[in-house]
């Protein structure tokens, strides 16, 4: 795929993005429905039932309904996007996603005039999800984007990584990828997409608004109250690797900064 593609390694530091190994990306995950340990999703997510998967589309759209993944992606061909992935916990990875632009999925649904935000919801399968039974955080996990963020060409609905169908622990069968935001915005295993007028709830923001803002754009200048966000540890680097500086908007500043023109990013963090 072309080098001119947005998001592909044209960041400020001019560094070619080298993806982490499939093993790294599938053995170190946050997916609290399957436990809070980084290995828990890899160990427990085999129980996720992805058969008969449907996504409910509702709210301010002309064509609401229940869609299968293939219906939702009808006529679209997933492409590879190699993106930086920056977790709010100050570790990072490089992921070769396969997906389609969210905008291409939303447009045919007929977005109505009043729609200003997109809300997403993760599946809840208590019988298959040990973390849901333990109630470590409120479920279902929900997230949201402003409509212009959702329509940005960097924003993906991903259905795979490394050309493989999306592994369960990474959010099978379909998940969001918003590369300039902390990873928890990129909600996994989506079962509902709603076009709404008001800013929708976002799980971590609901749990602790002081620590997790609605926007949660990667920003080295805004510390998490409990740790600095100025640097990050690339996973897979071994015990002695140096940390590297975190880039504004995770390296996608040129592409997305204009979305936030005139906003105080310290306040809207």
């Amino acid at each position: 795929l072309g080098m001119g593609m947005p998001g592909r390694a044209e960041a400020q530091d001019n560094e070619e993005l080298v993806p982490n190994s499939f093993e790294d990306l599938t053995s170190y995950n946050n997916y609290y429905e399957f436990g809070t340990g980084k290995r828990d999703p890899a160990d427990n997510a085999a129980a996720l039932d992805t058969s008969d998967w449907t996504i409910t589309v509702d709210g301010l759209v002309d064509n609401p309904g229940q869609y299968t993944v293939s219906e939702l992606l009808d006529g679209l061909t997933p492409e590879e996007r190699i993106y930086r992935f920056r977790c709010v916990e100050a570790w990072s990875a490089v992921v070769p996603w396969n997906g389609v632009e969210l905008a291409d999925v939303l447009a045919p649904l007929g977005i109505q005039d009043g729609a200003r935000y997109v809300a997403f919801e993760t599946v809840v399968q208590p019988e298959n999800m040990i973390g849901v039974r333990r109630q470590v955080i409120p479920f279902p996990y929900v997230e949201g984007l402003r409509l212009d963020e959702a329509m940005h060409p960097l924003t993906l609905l991903a259905t795979g990584l490394y050309g493989e169908p999306m592994p369960n622990q990474n959010g099978a069968p379909i998940r969001l990828v918003v590369p300039w935001k902390y990873g928890f915005k990129s909600i996994k295993s989506i079962v509902r997409i709603s076009l709404v007028e008001e800013e929708p709830p976002a799980t971590w923001n609901v749990i602790n608004a002081r620590e997790y803002g609605f926007y949660s754009n990667v920003n080295p200048n805004v510390s998490h109250p409990r740790w600095s966000q100025a640097e990050e540890r690339e996973i897979g680097g071994g015990l002695f690797a140096a940390k590297k500086p975190t880039l504004m908007f995770n390296g996608y500043e040129d592409e997305v900064a204009s979305l936030y023109d005139g906003m105080d990013l310290q306040e809207f963090f």
Binding site: N20, E23, D24, S27, Y28, Y32, T36, K38, R39, E89, W91, A93, R134, Q135, V136, I137, I207, S223, P225, R226, W227, S228, R233, I235, G236, G238, L239, F240, A242, K243
Partner: protein
């Protein structure tokens, strides 16, 4: 039964098996981290491994007295080695955090000052330093009664260590709360409640 266990325990050397075991374990986990066996983020894994064993050993040390009171089993001979091992692991936990995780002295200081859960962890470490330094026969003789008073610093240190853990996690995880609860129970077990409560109930009758 208790006598059999105590008799058996008396035959075990008081310190060196624990020192060798803990040192070997710490080296082994480090080796696993360096060779990729602890997953893609070995620094975090190593930090957690050392920190978790440290708090477990602190709890074991605090359990010695209640265990004797409740069951008659006495681990008193092992308590010094348990405490020194815990201190060693606290230092290892701190060193991994400072050297491999934060990596810069200025960053270490900034985190200690700015991040409450790190401030608390650091306070626990500082409280344990005089205990580590005086865990030898000479200090015990020299300090006399004051040694026992000094070593009560382990009580606040253990509470701070558990708080450090509770504060660190995202969302609701049971494990840090379990550590905190066990520590509080073990500390409460040291209080003579009938004597403490008698005057309160005695005077509140009026």
């Amino acid at each position: 039964m208790v006598q059999t266990i105590n008799g058996w325990l008396r035959k075990v050397p008081a310190s060196w098996p624990l020192y060798i075991g803990v040192s070997f374990w710490a080296g082994w986990v480090f080796y696993r981290g360096a060779t990729g066996a602890l997953g893609p983020n070995p620094v975090e894994a190593l930090e957690h491994e050392y920190g978790q064993l440290a708090i477990k050993l602190l709890i074991l040390g605090l359990a010695v007295t209640p265990l004797r009171k409740w069951t008659g089993i006495t681990l008193l001979r092992f308590r010094r080695a348990i405490g020194v091992s815990a201190f060693f692991l606290v230092l290892a936990h701190f060193t991994v955090w400072a050297v491999l995780d934060v990596q810069r002295l200025a960053g270490v200081w900034a985190d200690i000052v700015k991040r409450p859960y790190i401030t608390i962890g650091m306070a626990a470490l500082l409280l344990l330093i005089p205990l580590g330094v005086t865990s030898n026969n000479w200090s015990i003789r020299k300090l006399g009664r004051r040694w026992r008073v000094l070593h009560r610093l382990v009580y606040p240190a253990a509470i701070l260590a558990a708080l450090h853990y509770v504060w660190l996690v995202k969302g609701f995880e049971l494990e840090p709360y379990i550590y905190m609860a066990v520590i509080l129970v073990l500390l409460a077990a040291r209080v003579d409640w009938s004597r403490r409560l008698a005057p309160i109930f005695g005077t509140s009758r009026a």
